[in-house]
Amino acid sequence: MTQKNEVFSRPLSPHLTIYRPQLTSMLSILHRITGAALAVGTVVLMGWLWAAAYNPECFTGIHTFLTGIIGRLLLIGWTFAFYFHFCNGIRHLFWDMGKGFEIHVAYRSGWLVIAASLFFTISTWIGALSKAGAF
């Protein structure tokens, strides 16, 4: 590919390595990472529904796993991934409408996304654990 680019003197933009990490680029890649993590999470969603319909023993097994330490950590991770992808996705929808491109607005909305996803994640788990009788 590099060879081809040289032969046809294609313009090459500076790549990742020369940029200092910034909030905007970090949130951008986090959007993809959380999206991929959530795609993996859909397998659990499918397995849970499948087990509820066809295999009660498997359902109990999934429930035991998900309420264990590893399961809980995974679910907390997916909860954050969901809320982040949700909030940042709405940020993207605003960009699609041409709004919020100014640098200071992009930074402000970025911090807002982080704050909101943490707030929603914590609220959801306070709700979930208090329902489970943890406190």
Partner: protein
């Protein structure tokens, strides 16, 4: 030729935009907008049923036509959104053509299969078609 960024072969083959990119872009956003209310409803529902952890609670939840319909719409949007998103990730980061093509195929097939299995499970729960001896 030096001034073109396209190879002669690409020109001869007529490669370039497949004129179908807009559809991908639009559906990514249409499914996203559909998922805004539905995912929140889903999390809210899970908070009410998951902690009980019993199959009966899921069956009771899915007995409602509105809940079953909402979940099926959510699942269709989720798996289509996931398939479109993973497609972009694969296209961007996998450069070897054969691995890229097989990953794209696998992604499409898997996401489609997951969607069908999930929706089938919802229908089974909703219509109480749970196999004999399975439901307690």
């Amino acid at each position: 030729m030096k001034d073109s960024i396209r190879t002669p072969l690409a020109k001869v083959r007529g490669l370039g935009s497949a004129k179908s990119g807009t559809s991908h872009f639009l559906w990514q956003r249409i499914t996203a907008i559909i998922l805004i209310p539905l995912t929140w409803w889903f999390i809210y529902s899970l908070l009410h049923i998951a902690n009980g952890g019993s199959q009966e609670l899921v069956i009771a939840w899915m007995a409602s036509s509105a809940n079953a319909a909402a979940l099926i719409i959510m699942l269709m949007a989720v798996f289509y959104h996931a398939a479109l998103g993973m497609q972009v990730i694969i296209e961007d980061y996998i450069h070897c053509p054969s691995i890229k093509l097989s990953s794209l195929l696998l992604n499409a097939v898997l996401m489609f299969a997951f969607a069908i299995i999930s929706i089938l499970a919802v229908l089974t729960l909703h219509f109480h078609m749970i196999p004999q001896g399975v439901a307690e």
